[in-house]
Each structure stands twice: as structure tokens, then as C-alpha cells.
């Protein structure tokens, strides 16, 4: 069993992480690959897959031990890398690992009640959580939220709607960003809402270009009563809590980028070796060989740079600028590689049902989700003191 994600940073290839990759690859081959086409059609990943992953500890990586976690942030990125490199798909990784965007704020708050109720069951795979920030009217403008949570003494009364919610159709709870104290950054709070609450509804399941097995929802909250105890952290600190977690999410998406490129390259090489044209394999053509060489180069650069930035970020040596650079480097490499992988496959690559066609569609979200390519460049530019 050979892992395709050839780790160039020694940190990423410790004996434990090599072993972890074997487990992730085994999990992917036994539980994911035989069912992925069906989940893509169904538009969601079944709950029991979360339980299996939870039992293997794949949902625990990167969380502190006192909330049932094990290992660190790099371990979680290794899991993401291996899932996608092994063919589990970028959409599957997004669906399975949504708790990494839903839970960090609760974990950081140290609130024992919320940890017991939401974090522990999510890490064991019994519960599915999601994060609700974006609104149908205002994009991801965190400071200008239309969703309001009114203080009614012993409970919050929440009204509003959220969209593009990853795992929103399956979730047991949603961490909602709502305005509790007027407009502006200081008025935003995070509140956990059980999706079984009266007044909560999934308005629409959103049909997407890619990530088909990852359910995405638009949800509404109409006079939803939520206990005061469900406030995450201090009132009015929601904006800062969300901002603090963006870098981690972006590093995750950077890993999606190079891992998906790696999978695309693998498929293209395999195809070019076996597909014959005029009596010889495609690899006999210089134009194809050079194409594959350039795909390999870009994939390798994205992998090495992303792994280095992630390692440095985990050690506190770099920040948002380098994370933004890693995300864009990886996304641009992925865009190029999956496009060329499809090109090499010719007509077959354009057919529904071929893996390379799915990869091509899946890749497109990576330059949008977690902050667009343009936002990444703005983050980089701001730190270059250009004006």
C-alpha cells in the first residue's frame, strides 16, 4: 500500500503519520470508494461513515485531548491529503471534516457544557455540525449580518437565514453568526442552534457544480428560541472568533488543492500510459510527456510550499499572508493540473461518470471557498505595505 502524497517536509513523514496515511487509505478503499458514486447521486454522505471515521480517530486529529482529540493540526491535514490522494474526493473530505469549521470556536471557548453536548459527539462521529455565517443577501460580510438574536432574558430569539452551509442538510446543530448588539463587528455573536428546534428549517438543498456528495443548504430561522447557555465565548466576540479560524480553513483548502492535483496527475499518467494512439501509447508523444512533466512540477511546488507554510504556521512562525499565498499557489496549480488531466483524457474526460470529469468540477470551488483568490491577494497585498 503506497501513499501517493510523497511528503517533502520531514514533519509530514514521521513514522506515525506514515501509519496514519495507511489507515486513511484503508478506510478510503474499504468504505468510501465502493460507495462514492452513489453518494454523489444522493447528494450526501451517510451518517454511519462518520461513525466509522470517528472510531478510527480520523475526526479527532487536531483537537485538544481534553475534548477527545489527538495529534495536531498537521495530522488533520495529513488525513485530508490522504483522503483526496486516495480518491475519496475533495467533496467527501469537505463533508466528513465539516466539524473542523463548526467546532473550533466552541473548543476555544472552553465551555464545558457546550463541549460535552456538541464537541465530544461530533468527534466520535455521532453528531454532525456545521457553521452558518454567509447570508443570502450579504455574502460573507461578517460585520453586516441580517440574522438577529434578541436577548429575551433566559433565551435568545433568533430570526434570519443562512446560505452555502456545508453539511447544513444533515447537521444536528449549527453554529450561527448573529447580530446580538447592533451593526458592526462588535455586535456579532456565535450561538449554537439545534436543528431540531422549532422554527429551524432547511429551505433548500443547493445543487452545485461539484462537491456533489457534500450536502449544501440554505436554512432559515423563524423565532427560534435558544437557551442562553448556547452562546459561544463572550457576547460580541463572534467576528473575531470567525476571523481567527479562517487561516486553518484556508490551509485545509490549500491541501485540497495539491492533493486533488496529485490525484488528477495520477489518473492522467495512468491513462497516457495505457491509451494507444496510432499504435503507440500517448506517452510516446513529446507533447503529452511535456504536459505531464509540467503538471508534476506544479503539483510538487504546491505540495512542498503548502506543507512548509502549514508547518511554519503551526509553529507560529508565519501568518495569514503566507497562508493566503499557499492557498492561491495550490489552487492555481490544481486548476491547471485538472484542466490538463481532462484534456489528456480527451472525449472520455468530458463524459459524466469519469473520475477526471468529477475532479475537474470539484476543483472549481477551491478558488472561491474559504475566501476567493482575489481576497487572498488582497490579504497578501495589505501586508506588503504598498499604499
Amino acid at each position: 500500500m503506497e501513499s501517493s502524497g510523497a511528503d517533502k517536509c520531514a514533519d509530514w513523514a514521521s513514522p506515525e503519520r506514515v501509519e496514519l496515511r495507511r489507515t486513511v487509505r484503508g478506510f478510503t478503499e474499504r468504505y468510501v470508494l465502493p460507495n462514492l458514486d452513489e453518494w454523489e447521486k444522493d447528494g450526501e454522505v451517510p451518517r454511519n461513515v462518520h461513525r466509522v471515521a470517528g472510531k478510527l480517530g480520523l475526526l479527532a486529529a487536531g483537537f485538544p485531548e481534553n475534548v477527545g482529540g489527538v495529534g495536531d493540526m498537521i495530522d488533520n491535514l495529513v488525513i485530508t491529503d490522504e483522503l483526496i490522494s486516495a480518491g475519496a474526493s475533495s467533496g467527501f473530505a469537505a463533508a466528513l471534516l465539516t466539524h473542523h469549521i463548526a467546532l473550533p470556536h466552541i473548543v476555544a471557548s472552553g465551555d464545558e457544557y457546550l463541549i460535552e453536548r456538541y464537541v465530544l459527539p461530533s468527534i466520535s462521529g455521532e453528531m454532525i455540525g456545521c457553521l452558518g455565517v454567509t447570508e443570502p443577501t450579504g455574502g460573507s460580510d461578517v460585520a453586516g449580518l441580517a440574522t438577529k438574536a434578541e436577548d429575551h432574558g433566559d433565551h435568545w430569539l433568533i430570526n434570519g437565514s443562512k446560505t452555502y452551509i456545508t453539511s447544513g442538510a444533515r447537521a444536528d446543530f449549527i453554529v450561527v453568526a448573529a447580530s446580538t448588539d447592533g451593526a458592526g463587528h462588535a455586535g456579532v455573536s456565535l450561538i449554537v442552534v439545534d436543528t431540531s428546534s422549532a422554527g429551524f428549517s432547511v429551505t433548500r438543498r443547493l445543487e452545485k457544480m461539484g462537491w456533489a456528495c457534500s450536502d449544501t443548504a440554505e436554512i432559515t430561522l423563524v423565532d427560534v428560541e435558544v437557551p442562553k447557555a448556547n452562546l459561544v465565548g463572550e457576547r460580541g466576540t463572534g467576528f473575531y472568533q470567525i476571523m481567527r479560524n479562517f487561516d486553518g480553513e484556508r490551509l485545509g483548502l490549500a491541501v485540497h488543492g495539491y492533493a486533488l492535483a496529485s490525484r488528477g496527475l495520477e489518473l492522467a499518467v495512468e491513462w497516457a500510459r495505457t491509451r494507444r494512439s496510432s499504435g503507440a501509447p500517448l506517452t510516446s508523444l513529446q507533447t503529452i510527456r511535456h504536459k505531464l512533466a509540467e503538471m508534476a512540477r506544479q503539483t510538487e511546488v504546491a505540495r512542498v510550499f503548502t506543507q512548509k507554510v502549514a508547518t511554519d504556521f503551526a509553529a507560529g512562525r508565519v501568518g495569514s499572508k503566507e497562508v493566503a499565498m499557499a492557498k492561491n499557489t495550490s489552487v492555481y496549480a490544481c486548476d491547471y493540473v485538472v484542466d490538463q488531466a481532462l484534456q489528456i483524457h480527451g472525449g472520455l474526460g468530458y463524459m459524466k461518470g469519469s473520475e477526471v470529469e468529477r475532479i475537474y468540477r470539484d476543483a472549481r470551488i477551491l478558488g472561491i471557498g474559504g475566501g476567493t483568490n482575489e481576497i487572498m491577494n488582497e490579504i497578501i497585498a495589505k501586508r506588503m505595505a504598498l499604499v
Partner: protein, 258 residues
């Protein structure tokens, strides 16, 4: 219920293997991994100990250069500890030497049952386990497809060409298990992390009192010559001009399959 499981650490079958041109032995210079066929024995042992409610699983292995990568996999699956015999003099050992070493290592730990694979993926002699049993004075049952402990006996369904035999054998004993006896678990992430701190006792030939009694120098078995397998012949391509089925039948008749 304490169980010793013999495990072999072998070069990764996913990477091409090579033979040393002078000794004809397998080159074991790279990273070694747990032989897949041993994962069944480890899993079987873990399940039997779990069912017994007490005891532990000990891995026993012989490998060059203090290699523990494969042992860590078994420890991550749930084994409690490992014994590794490593010694430069063991290079070139034959099956009997290996059996002597493993038997002596097993004798350093408490056990009610010894489990091994029917054969290793790299050597395929299939003779080491029964030699270990003989050296330890244990009864042995080979080719187990089902293993149960019942008080002081082990009950084994032993795979045969015609079906299987039901064997009852007193403990302590040695059992070799086939692939498929159980489905090996994947090590959990927590298991992988905890394996780092599990004990691996490293022993030399001197520690086992086997200097001059085991190892390459006293091997009674020698690989005299090695020949490359013939390159696989290209297959027959049947163009279906309406007689494809007939052509296939004729081809299978020619091979005496039908």
C-alpha cells in the same frame, strides 16, 4: 489469555523487490513493513484476548537493523508489547535458524497460545511455525480458518482441500491462521499515537544463548541459483466477427478448461 504472535517485517510489496546477486537473498535495505499476512494473526489474537477479558498480545519478530516499523503497526492495532531479535549474525538465516530464534524469544514471555501466519509473503517456506512448535514442545494446528478458546483447549476449524476439519487441541499450543480467519482492523489514530510508548524489547543472539547455533553461518539451507521468471506472453485478442463466442470456447478447450 496471553498470546504471542510471530510477525515478519518485510520490504513493501508495493515497491519492486530485488535479490542480492551473490547470496540470492532478498535485499532488505529499505523500510520494512508488517507482512499483510500477519495482520490476520494479530487481529485474531486481539479478538481472543478481548473475549477472554484478560491477558495481552505480545508480538515476536526477527529483523535486521533494529527495524520496528512493522511492529509499530501491530502495536497500533492493539498489541501490548513486542520482542525484537536483531543481530548482524542473523543475515542469511534459513527457516530453522529463524524458528530457533523465534522459539527462544517466545520462551522469554508468558503465553497460552502462539499464533503465526501459514507462510510469509516474501519467503513462502511455510515451515517456520511448525518448527517453532516442535522446538517449544507444543502441539500445532495449521491452516486455521476459525479459532476459539474453550477453557483449557483451543478449537480450530482447519482448512483442507475438501472442506475443513474440526480440531480440538490442549493449550498451550501453536496455531497458524489463514488470510480470512478474521478481518484485520485498521489501526486507529489513537492506537498509532499510543504505539509510540509501548515497550519493544530488543534481544541479540547472545541474549538468547544462540551464538553459533543460529544465523547465516550455520544455515543448512542454501539458495544455489536463481532464474528470472519468463516474461508473461501477450494474451490472445479475439475479434468478434460474429464467431467470438465460438472462438472463446475453442481457446478454452485448447487449454482444457472446458
Amino acid at each position: 489469555m496471553n498470546i504471542a504472535v510471530c510477525v515478519k517485517q518485510i520490504p513493501d510489496p508495493a515497491a519492486p523487490w530485488s535479490l542480492d546477486p551473490s547470496t540470492h537473498n532478498l535485499v532488505r535495505e529499505g523500510k520494512l513493513i508488517l507482512d499483510d499476512s500477519d495482520a490476520y494473526g494479530v487481529e485474531m489474537a486481539l479478538q481472543l484476548v478481548d473475549k477472554a477479558g484478560a491477558g495481552e498480545v505480545t508480538l515476536v519478530s526477527m529483523a535486521p537493523r533494529n527495524e520496528t516499523s512493522g511492529l509499530r503497526t501491530g502495536l497500533a492495532m492493539g498489541a501490548a508489547k513486542a520482542i525484537l531479535v536483531t543481530d548482524d549474525q542473523l543475515a542469511g538465516s534459513d527457516a530453522l535458524s529463524t524458528a530457533k530464534v523465534l522459539a527462544a524469544a517466545i520462551a522469554t514471555t508468558e503465553f497460552d497460545l502462539v499464533i503465526a501466519a501459514t507462510e510469509s509473503t516474501d519467503g513462502y517456506t511455510g515451515t517456520t511455525p511448525v518448527q517453532i512448535a516442535e522446538l517449544l514442545g507444543l502441539p500445532s494446528v495449521s491452516f486455521a480458518k476459525k479459532v476459539e478458546i474453550d477453557g483449557s483447549v483451543v478449537k480450530v476449524d482447519r482448512q483442507t482441500e475438501a472442506g475443513y476439519d474440526e480440531v480440538i487441541c490442549p493449550l498451550p499450543a501453536l496455531v497458524t491462521v489463514t488470510a480470512g480467519v478474521v478481518e484485520p482492523r485498521y489501526p486507529s489514530f489513537k492506537g498509532i499515537m499510543s504505539a509510540k510508548s509501548k515497550p519493544v524489547v530488543t534481544l541479540s543472539l547472545a541474549d538468547l544463548g544462540l551464538v553459533g547455533a543460529a544465523g547465516g553461518a550455520v544455515a543448512g539451507q542454501e539458495i544455489v541459483s536463481v532464474q528470472k521468471a519468463e516474461a508473461r506472453q501477450a494474451g490472445v485478442i479475439v475479434e468478434d466477427d460474429g464467431t467470438g463466442a465460438q472462438q472463446l470456447v475453442e481457446y478454452l478447450e485448447q487449454l482444457k478448461f472446458v
